[in-house]
């Protein structure tokens, strides 16, 4: 309800607009600009964070990856050579998720190895990303 007595009791949008449009302005304190510029100069003078040396690390990482893959293949081959009877004996006591490694031969073992490598790669990338955000 709009009242007619006294200074208008506004209950419509125009009254709200009128009140909120004329909010008092404050002036920046005298040292504000100097303070901001000091902070900016400190920021500019600070050494940038040392980036990870990808160029130097890449050959090492590649060699490490290849060695790891070779070791994995060797291990998988060694497991594949185990007698099937031994494997079936193992299979009774192993969880079902491990069975393809012993029953399926080198191919399924390779899949597991690739999955493990992928998981490790994703973990490393995720960790590096999180560290980079600090």
């Amino acid at each position: 309800m709009r009242r007619s007595t006294g200074p208008s009791v506004g209950n419509d949008d125009s009254e709200i607009d009128r009140i909120l449009s004329r909010e008092d302005e404050i002036l920046p304190s005298s040292g504000f600009t100097v303070s901001v510029m000091e902070a900016v100069r400190r920021e500019a003078a600070a050494r940038p964070p040392i980036p990870f040396p990808w160029k130097r690390a890449l050959p090492g990482l590649l060699v490490g990856g290849v060695v790891l893959a070779l070791v994995l293949v060797a291990v998988v081959r060694a497991i594949a050579q185990v007698d099937r009877t031994t494997a079936s004996r193992f299979s009774t006591s192993l969880p079902s998720v491990m069975l393809p490694i012993f029953n399926g031969g080198v191919e399924s073992a390779a899949i597991w190895a690739v999955l493990a490598l992928l998981t490790a790669f994703v973990s490393v990338k995720l960790t590096m990303r999180l560290c980079g955000q600090e």
């Binding site: 006294g6 200074p7 709200i16 607009d17 449009s21 920046p28 510029m37 902070a39 900016v40 920021e43």
Partner: protein
Amino acid sequence: MGMNASASDDQADVDKILAGDISAFEGIVRRWQGPLINLANRFCHDRGRAEEMAQEAFLRAYRALSQWRRDAVFSTWLFALATNLYRSELRRIPARTVPLADIAEPADPRAPDGGLADRDYDYDRDSAVRRAVFALPPKYREALVLFYFHEMDVTTAARSLGLPEGTMKARLFRGREILRNRLPQRLAVAHLKEA
């Protein structure tokens, strides 16, 4: 200073800074310190904190200067950056607010005459409306703050908040609706007591 002159000054200063002349940033600070502090003050109603938040906004702008895509005016980019910072700062450490239901403005009992009482009443009502805005849920409060800060320009306010205009209009409508529902009764009661 006109907006075009300001925009070209901003662009020239940004070019200098990116070329290594840090002191050119002072021009940007001098041009935009008032608006940025006042915007922060509308968010937190605390002068000291407003200056701290504005300083942090300038610092972030300096760091991110190379990310300013020149398809938008510099001030639009700066306000959007500052608005984001102010919102997240206030989510981290909320400003002190009075619950909307607790906002009631008694008239000044010292008023010796009707004229002064009217002026006091005006002051009380305006103060109550501003405090009521401050007590709104954040999404409506932010919409109203930006809308009135940008002189009721929905497009600019929506851009500062990173919202579509339709969403901005809906939030403004709802925010005003809450104010309309809450305040008139309280103010009317205060006015009747005064009479």
